[in-house]
Symmetry: C2
Subunit: 229 residues, 2 copies
Amino acid sequence: MSPRAQQAVADATRVVGYTKYVELIEDLIKDKEVVSTGMMQEIDRCQKALDLAMEGHRVAVVSSGDPGIYGMAGLVLELATKCPAEDRPEVEVISGISAVGASAACLGAPLMHDFAVISLSDLLTPWEVIRRRVELAAEGDFVIALYNPKSVKRNWQIEEVKNIVLKHRPVMTPVGIVHHASRDGEAKVIANLGGFTDEHIDMFSMVIIGNSRTYVKEGYMITPRGYQV
Amino acid sequence: MSPRAQQAVADATRVVGYTKYVELIEDLIKDKEVVSTGMMQEIDRCQKALDLAMEGHRVAVVSSGDPGIYGMAGLVLELATKCPAEDRPEVEVISGISAVGASAACLGAPLMHDFAVISLSDLLTPWEVIRRRVELAAEGDFVIALYNPKSVKRNWQIEEVKNIVLKHRPVMTPVGIVHHASRDGEAKVIANLGGFTDEHIDMFSMVIIGNSRTYVKEGYMITPRGYQV
């Protein structure tokens, strides 16, 4: 968490967020009034934050990772721009350490070259769109970072991704899996494209598939930038 | 800068980095001994950091943005894994606020959906590889973030990118340009695909091209996640 984000929470008179994320910063929130809601109530949550701001509160909406990468920044702004101009709250997006960046740091240096970031969640995006993006990213030899790679109910997509990328890259291409990146319980596995789906993967995991030059050495996953070393 | 990165610099007995980046954190470095070198001396700089570590120093290699995204993490690890096992320094990569994340926050919320990150620098990568990635990312309707979009000598690539993406997206597709993201002098322009190359763009700029659904409203560049709002 950046000092700027810490300051924003400290300066707020109300804190809004998904229950589990709010719990992560209890120390910072202290005795502030908190509006926390469960998963899948994103619209209500962001609207509530805007309502509080329009009532005169200084509100911090708490997101995990970087709120500007698949986070709450978009929904807050979509709703804010619908508020009547005279009441519209001022919104500032404060970026954080992204899950993809934190995961990369944990694995070594897999993002030294061009990469594609794709969410496998098909709740709001048709699978056909996601599948096609995986295909094109694989074809372009992008390093591929997968958000929301697998859940209890959504478990076959990651297998399909594996099969698509295998059409373009060798079985031994390194694949890094990071759980709870930069949080308590952070753990990683470095596997390969042929076998990585046998590892434990869930909604707290980030999967990073190397490009054709990515290698593993001394436990580090490295995508060379291209320097002659 | 995260508290963890600040602590790493505070704990170091030597600081190594590109002169301009070291200057940005002068207050933090105080009277520590600094090895700063100019641009284009990346290999020397990282090897020097490892040499100092092998002499027993605790060394902080300073990078701008996230060192794990096109930063010095890769080169340090590539060189570290070549050190003899008995002397090999322990390397920890500490992620930061990425330039792409900081730029997105400055523009609004353009990265709410799948995105491709591409560097237009052809110093270490053949232009044909870069060009093809732009083509595939455009075809897949990825939001496209461009690192190193243009320099004094390398000025025609951004025009080619524009023409490629125009084959797949409307002229009015929003394009955000951020200069000096999250630093003194931060500035932004939101233009469109047809005209963005008329704006000032240099090596301190990040260019983010929206996908087919990205829109601009009340000065914010927003890529909807897909919620029904």
